[in-house]
């Protein structure tokens, strides 16, 4: 269930189920649509949460978290939204910029996501919210974030009911 092979099978199935054969013609260099989709998701997450002086989405492998959560915990509807969204996201981007999201400039990727945020592509908003929310969840629940940004306390050992804010 957790092997990369099965992860790939999941992604392929959700794309094909979503009518994703249309995905195939867009694939240029990469012969495996699932790898391409995973890479695309990684770039999408990276556009949301980029590497700065601290790790970004790709460093943290957030695409794996997003896929894992949809694959294992999402219901049928969420999986459909995800699968169809992957296809639609790719084709809509290509229509706009005449290049694959994967090969596009970072500024074009950002401008596309901003347009989705501004509801220019309502058909992508559900998919986009799903991926954005899971990317944020993955980021704020990553080991990096929970040890270096906002440390998680496993053993507080205290309760101060009247904590005065400085």
């Amino acid at each position: 269930m957790n092997s990369p092979i099965n992860r790939k099978a999941f992604l392929r199935n959700s794309i094909i189920l979503a009518g994703g054969l249309a995905f195939l013609p867009y694939l240029s260099s990469c012969s495996d649509p699932t790898e391409e989709a995973s890479a695309e998701l990684a770039e999408l997450a990276e556009t949301l949460i980029p590497k700065t002086h601290t790790p970004g989405a790709k460093d943290l492998g957030l695409q794996h978290f997003v896929i894992k959560m949809v694959e294992d915990c999402g219901d049928e509807n969420q999986q459909k939204v995800f699968g169809q969204g992957m296809v639609k996201f790719k084709s809509t981007f290509r229509d706009q910029y005449e290049v694959d999201f994967l090969n596009a400039k970072a500024t074009d990727r950002s401008s596309f996501l901003k347009q989705i945020e501004d509801e220019k592509f309502p058909e992508l908003s559900e998919f986009y919210s799903l991926v954005k929310n899971l990317s944020i969840r993955g980021y704020t629940n990553s080991k990096f974030y929970m040890t270096e940004v906002v440390p998680y306390e496993l053993v507080p050992g205290r309760y101060n009911p009247f904590f005065k804010i400085a």
Partner: protein, 571 residues
């Protein structure tokens, strides 16, 4: 599987057998073994050894495969257990999956179960409030069920006995319907919880919020250290099992304590099929057990049997214990076993915001969960158009949140700098329900489980009294919140089925008259005196307090009685 092999008795003969190792069975085992009885505890589930078998206890959120969510396939296959608040990735291994242990819902009933050593004491919410005579006298005063055969004075010393060993954090609040006990220091109310308490005092004479009394070692005493338990470290991930033994469970406390006496044998993965009756004397002589793995049946014998299988499973064991003397099931001559099954009404919540106290927050975590509002309806006399009343949880907290607008560096900057929100307040109702003959659990005539045991058919529903009480809770709490200046008050009426409160009670109720009750004042089956039922099945009424403390006190009291009766040769 035998644990403590060195204490196994020859020819399967023991002094006492306890069926079930949960919160009440653990207490029966502790008391019996301390009093020198060679005791066999029969547990249907696997062994869970304190600390060693808490696989998730020290895991950070990011170490869980699904960040604490339950996979969809599991939820889809197990809708009942998936509705339980504590059934999450960190504790899912302690809950029974619907699929593995089917039962029949005549009406929707979410039966939440934990089949392992320690039972649900591992994952319980640890709230421990005493009952008062206003509870024990309730049925007689208000004309429902039957009169309890005991009063507060009968159980008070046993509450003390149990509380000292368990360790209860609480204040002496001097509230008539919530007697004070043997307390460790309470977890104090926070700024806004205290503010609400003051507002209630100003606006109402008879309503208050106290620190919820809970089974946590806020300041361990020698008796707790002797159990190998330490101070609660405020982790509030108790449902995983606590490596400090900071909260009470059979696993951290009573079971290892009983084992230390050298008098405990434990049989795990062993299902109590029935209590065996000696046809000549009409007394119980032992328990017939099915090995959960091999399905082989074995008989174990004892002078006295304690039935602590959990409310509905204890009903099932009684009903399945058919003999010449008890053709209709043990103690079921009057067709009462399984009936008058009741629960707590948890089907309403309310939430709001508070704009004040902006200079204060909390630091660390409160294992008590916050405050407790004792029942204030119909306490001394009937005042409303519904019987009895409700207690309520109340808590306030300030939580951090992150802005999620935008993308890229702007978004990351927001995520990296969480903001402190305002105060949120919330409450949930805990309503007393009226035991009724029409609410029952019984054995199905044809459906069997994987071990050949009849499946249990459950028919329990809310009634008009529950609906009125729920409406009153929402109205009263809204008013109390408004008067305190809380804003954005939201009523939440859930449609949750009975059972999800995990406070099912009754089915073998205590009473004075053998014609109208199953158990007597000492939890003995009226017609079979060497069988004691001291779990939730014994409850004549439900009160609005959390029941586990009362089960423990009744179990300890019943063991004391049983040992004296054995000495006198009466059983």
């Amino acid at each position: 599987m035998y644990i403590n092999n060195n204490t196994v008795q020859k020819d399967n003969h023991y002094d006492a057998i306890v069926i079930g190792s949960g919160i009440s069975g653990g207490w029966a085992a502790k008391e019996l073994t301390e009093k020198g009885l060679k005791t066999l505890v029969i547990e249907r589930g696997r062994n869970v050894e304190h600390i060693k078998d808490y696989p998730t206890t020290n895991m950070a959120p990011y170490e869980f495969e699904h960040n604490l969510d339950i996979p969809y396939a599991v939820r889809k296959e197990n809708p009942v257990i998936s509705r339980c608040y504590a059934f999450r990735e960190d504790a899912m291994h302690f809950f029974v999956k619907d699929k593995e242990h089917p039962y029949i819902q005549e009406k929707p009933f979410d039966w939440i179960r934990g089949y392992q050593v320690g039972g649900k004491s591992l994952m319980w919410a640890r709230q421990t409030q005493r009952w008062s005579d206003l509870d024990f006298e309730g049925p007689a005063r208000d004309g429902f069920a039957v009169d309890w055969p005991i009063r507060y004075k009968d159980i008070a010393p046993w509450y003390s006995h149990v509380e000292k060993f368990v360790g209860i954090a609480g204040n002496r609040d001097n509230i008539v319907n919530l007697p004070d006990g043997e307390f460790l220091p309470a977890y104090p109310l926070n700024t806004v919880e205290k503010y609400f308490k003051d507002q209630l005092a100003a606006n109402y004479g008879d309503r208050t919020v106290i620190s919820a009394r809970c089974a946590h070692l806020s300041e361990p005493q020698p008796i707790h250290l002797e159990q190998g338990r330490g101070k609660c470290m405020n982790r509030t991930i108790c449902q995983r099992g606590c490596p400090f033994g900071g909260y009470f469970s059979s696993n951290s406390s009573t079971i290892p304590w009983a084992a230390k006496t050298g008098n405990l044998s434990m049989l795990t993965d062993s299902i109590a099929e029935s209590i065996i009756i000696d046809e000549e004397t009409g007394k119980a002589k032992g328990v017939r057990v099915i090995d959960a793995n091999t399905k082989k049946t074995t008989e174990y014998y004892a002078k006295v049997v304690f039935l602590n299988a959990s409310t509905i499973n204890s009903i099932a064991v009684l009903l399945n214990s058919k003999s010449k003397a008890f053709e209709n099931g043990l103690g079921n001559e009057n067709d009462l076993v399984g009936k008058y099954l009741a629960f707590h009404n948890y089907s309403a919540r309310i939430s709001a915001q508070y704009e004040g106290a902006a200079d204060f927050a909390t630091d660390g975590r409160n294992p008590a969960g916050g405050g407790y509002i004792p029942r204030f309806r119909n306490v001394h006399k009937q005042e409303t158009d519904f019987l009895r009343g409700y207690a309520a949880g109340f808590n306030a907290g300030r939580y951090t949140y992150t802005e999620r607008n935008g993308i890229g560096e702007e978004l990351k900057e927001s995520l990296d700098n969480p903001k402190l929100g305002g105060w949120s307040v919330g409450s949930h109702m805990m309503g007393e329900t009226i035991p009724k003959e029409s609410n029952w659990a019984r054995l199905d005539q044809s459906e069997k489980d994987a071990w050949g045991m009849p499946q249990i058919r459950i028919s329990v529903d809310y009634d008009d009294n529950d609906a009125k009480m729920k409406a009153d809770y929402l109205d009263q709490l809204s008013e109390m919140f408004e008067k305190a200046g809380f804003t954005n008050i939201r009523r939440n009426e859930s449609s949750q089925a009975p059972g999800l409160d995990i406070h099912e009670m009754g089915g073998a109720r205590m009473g004075k008259d053998p014609k109208t009750s199953v158990l007597n004042a000492f939890n003995q089956v009226h017609s079979c005196k060497n069988v004691y039922v001291t779990d939730g099945a014994c409850m004549t009424s439900t009160s609005s307090q959390n029941p586990s403390l009362t089960y423990m006190a009744l179990a300890a009291r019943a063991v004391d009685h049983a040992v004296n009766e054995l000495k006198k040769g009466n059983i």
